[in-house]
């Protein structure tokens, strides 16, 4: 009885918390709700701010696939984002592993230098990078898209931080068992760091999927374009169909949301390790 009372007292004290969280959740989810309803309305209703579901979903979708290469852009976005995620995770986790578990003065200095790259603005390197990529004949290819972002200081830092929790003792044990350093990475580090990989995968995938400035420069062929480019194109067209645009926006947002939902738990765990 008292325990129950106690519990309800706690919950009562949490009422302001609940109110605040509900308000914030509404604020942050509303734009997404709006995106979904707008995708089902015609352009006039969207422009006038109709917030309930309409009946134009099919028509908007048909207009979208008729006027835009939706599946092509989806396919491209998935290809670029997956390749970038896999390679970035491999390269950056190797580096994080190397920096933390084999660290010495020289490597720490190098790490500090690499962190500087975080501060290099994208607009500054865009032109020289474009020259490099076009010189290597990689325009409009997945490599042109991913190479500049395949190793990022942030990801290395994340793996490096997480590696602090990696039990060093078992490395010693493994060495005595005759495992090579590479084997230690693949057989011990990879499985132990699962949640870090999941968190990193979510972040890299989202960044790759959402990137806009660089693809605008390097993917000049409409056949190579990505989803964000596709919807930005719809938005900058000479006449704008809002319903269709929102349908495109919805398609652009769904994959990253789904991936976040699936990996949510591991994501939280991985981030927890990174900030320890």
């Amino acid at each position: 009885m008292t325990e129950k009372k106690n519990k309800s007292a706690i919950q009562r004290r949490l009422i302001p918390t609940y109110i605040f969280l509900v308000i914030w959740s509404l604020f942050s989810v509303f734009p997404l709700y709006w995106m979904i309803t707008a995708a089902t309305n015609n352009t006039v209703d969207v422009a006038r701010g109709k917030i309930v579901f309409g009946t134009y979903a099919v028509e908007n979708f048909n207009n979208l696939i008729k006027s835009q290469n939706l599946w092509g852009a989806m396919g491209n976005s998935f290809l670029y984002a997956i390749v970038q995620t896999v390679l970035c995770l491999l390269i950056c986790s190797l580096a994080g592993f190397g920096f933390e578990l084999y660290h010495d003065k020289a490597k720490d200095v190098l790490f500090g230098i690499l962190l500087l790259a975080m501060m290099v603005p994208g607009v500054a390197t865009m032109i020289p990078l474009f020259k490099m990529i076009s010189g290597a004949k990689l325009l409009n290819t997945v490599w042109g898209f991913i190479l500049p972002a395949v190793a990022t200081p942030f990801m290395i830092m994340m793996f490096r931080q997480n590696s602090r929790n990696f039990p060093v003792d078992i490395m010693e044990a493994a060495r005595i068992d005759g495992l090579s350093e590479f084997m230690i990475f693949f057989r011990m580090y990879l499985p132990v760091m699962k949640s870090t990989y999941a968190a990193a995968a979510v972040i890299v995938f989202m960044n790759a999927w959402n990137s806009y400035l660089w693809p605008k420069v390097v993917l000049t062929n409409p056949k190579a374009q990505t989803m964000p480019m596709l919807i930005a194109n719809i938005a900058s067209g000479y006449t704008l169909d809002y319903g269709m645009m929102m349908m495109g926006v919805l398609f652009c947002s769904l994959p990253t949301m789904i991936i976040f939902f699936i990996l949510q738990k591991q994501f939280a765990e991985g981030i927890t390790g990174a900030v320890k």
Partner: protein, 432 residues
């Protein structure tokens, strides 16, 4: 378990990398010598693209049945400009198509900056005297022709005659009137109908340029900004500000705000812009028959104002491997073919600036949406009156600063200092 995990990851990496390598690098856009294909970058699916399709059909029917025009649609004119900038800056032209559609106001600077990106049309078989002088003044650089005009940028002023009637006016009252008279009618129109007599894209600032040209004046003089010293400019800015403050003119935030909200959203009783705005006006079916077009007001009144705004032309790029075919195609279509221009007009509302093509039957038909008025032939006729004014590579930069000045004046700055500010910034941007 661990082994499994590792092999899984490794297989994953390898599989994905292989897919990625196998993904074909998109082929260069340019065509090879001797075949029947040309590629072109263009924008606006409702306007330029139908015109290009019309030209393709014309060339197929009358010259080469195997001909294919590969139209690569871009989302906006700036995409084409960026493609040329990137190609020229990196020295790699392989991603450019054979032909690009290019904005008139930018081409002079692009030819000056990137001479290798273009092919001169000195030996093309086109009778240039058949084209409007003003239009050709953009694509002719040092007396050499580089581009073949597609459309005609002649400015029109379209009015809702039904609404004017409600206020007790006719379109004749607005033809050849002064801006002061226009403002009086505009005030009445807003009071009576709640609609603005004019709207414009506030960030694009087409307005001061067109108004200046209607007076025969320019924003530039001898290659330098001509703003604060330019009496006409000062008067025009004052008129524009007066129009905004008295609810005669509404400025949209950007292009889509201008077209979607003010024109398609039925906020206005009048539209003034290059005639390529007509398809936008026509997107409201319930207003069919209620519009008519005429010329622009002027400061003094008593005469009609003529201006042009924002057209484009086709240019052969430095990546074209089949220049002869490209020249032949351009000459036999946009170079003066009635078939091309008639179809371009019907499918895309693209109006020619080729004088002989503008005399065809199609051009003389009355247009139902515009109350049966034969607007096309009217526009071609109007186009011949447009006075060429001094152009400059910094055309759009200038427009931007003038636009900022208008914003500042609306926020309370005085006209003189706002314009002086614009002029000094423009001079600065031009490196003067």
């Amino acid at each position: 378990m661990k082994k499994k995990m590792m092999s899984l990851v490794l297989t994953g990496v390898m599989a994905v990398s292989m897919v990625a390598t196998a993904a074909p690098a998109m082929a260069a856009e340019g065509s090879a010598t001797g075949d029947h294909t040309l590629s072109v970058f263009a924008w606006d699916a409702n306007f330029n693209i139908p015109a290009l399709k019309a030209a393709e059909a014309d060339y197929q029917a009358n010259v080469d049945p195997d001909f294919v025009l590969n139209i690569v649609e871009q989302s906006a004119s700036s995409d084409v400009e960026n493609a040329v900038t990137l190609a020229a800056s990196s020295g790699d032209y392989s991603q450019l198509p054979d032909i690009v559609l290019f904005q008139d106001h930018y081409i002079q600077k692009y030819v000056a900056d990137y001479p290798d990106a273009w092919v001169a049309l000195d030996d093309i078989e086109i009778d240039w005297s058949d084209f409007g002088e003003e239009k050709l003044s953009y694509s002719t650089i040092n007396d050499v022709h580089y581009g073949v005009p597609v459309d005609n940028g002649t400015a029109i002023f379209a009015y809702r005659v039904d609404l004017l009637e409600e206020c007790g006016y006719t379109i004749d009252d607005l033809t050849g009137c002064s801006w002061d008279e226009f403002i009086e009618i505009g005030k009445k129109a807003y009071e009576t109908t709640g609609k603005y007599l004019l709207s414009m894209d506030g960030s694009g600032n087409d307005l001061p340029y067109m108004l200046l040209q209607a007076e025969g004046a320019s924003q530039f003089k001898d290659g330098e900004p001509y703003i604060t010293e330019n009496e006409t400019m000062v008067q025009i800015i004052e008129k524009i500000v007066e129009m905004i403050q008295s609810n005669v003119l509404y400025l949209g935030n950007d292009w889509s705000d201008y077209t979607d909200q003010t024109i398609i959203g039925d906020m206005v009783a009048g539209v003034m812009n290059g005639n390529w705005i007509i398809p936008t006006i026509e997107q409201v079916p319930e207003n069919s028959g209620k519009w008519e077009i005429t010329t622009l007001p002027t400061l003094e009144g008593g005469k009609e104002g003529y201006a042009s705004n924002g057209g484009s032309s086709l240019y052969i790029t430095g990546n074209c491997q089949n220049v002869d075919l490209a020249k032949d195609f351009l000459a036999k279509t946009f170079g003066g073919s009635t078939a091309t221009y008639d179809a371009a007009l019907k499918d895309g509302g693209v109006i020619t600036c080729c004088i002989s093509a503008g005399q065809s039957d199609v051009y003389n038909e009355g247009v139902e949406y515009f109350n049966g008025q034969p607007i096309y032939t009217t526009i071609v006729e109007m186009g011949s009156h447009v006075i060429p004014v001094e152009q400059n590579d910094y055309h759009y930069t200038c427009r931007q600063y003038i636009g900022s000045a208008i914003q500042q004046i609306l926020e309370g700055a005085d006209v003189e200092s706002a314009l002086a500010d614009a002029e000094s910034q423009l001079r600065f941007a031009m490196g003067l």
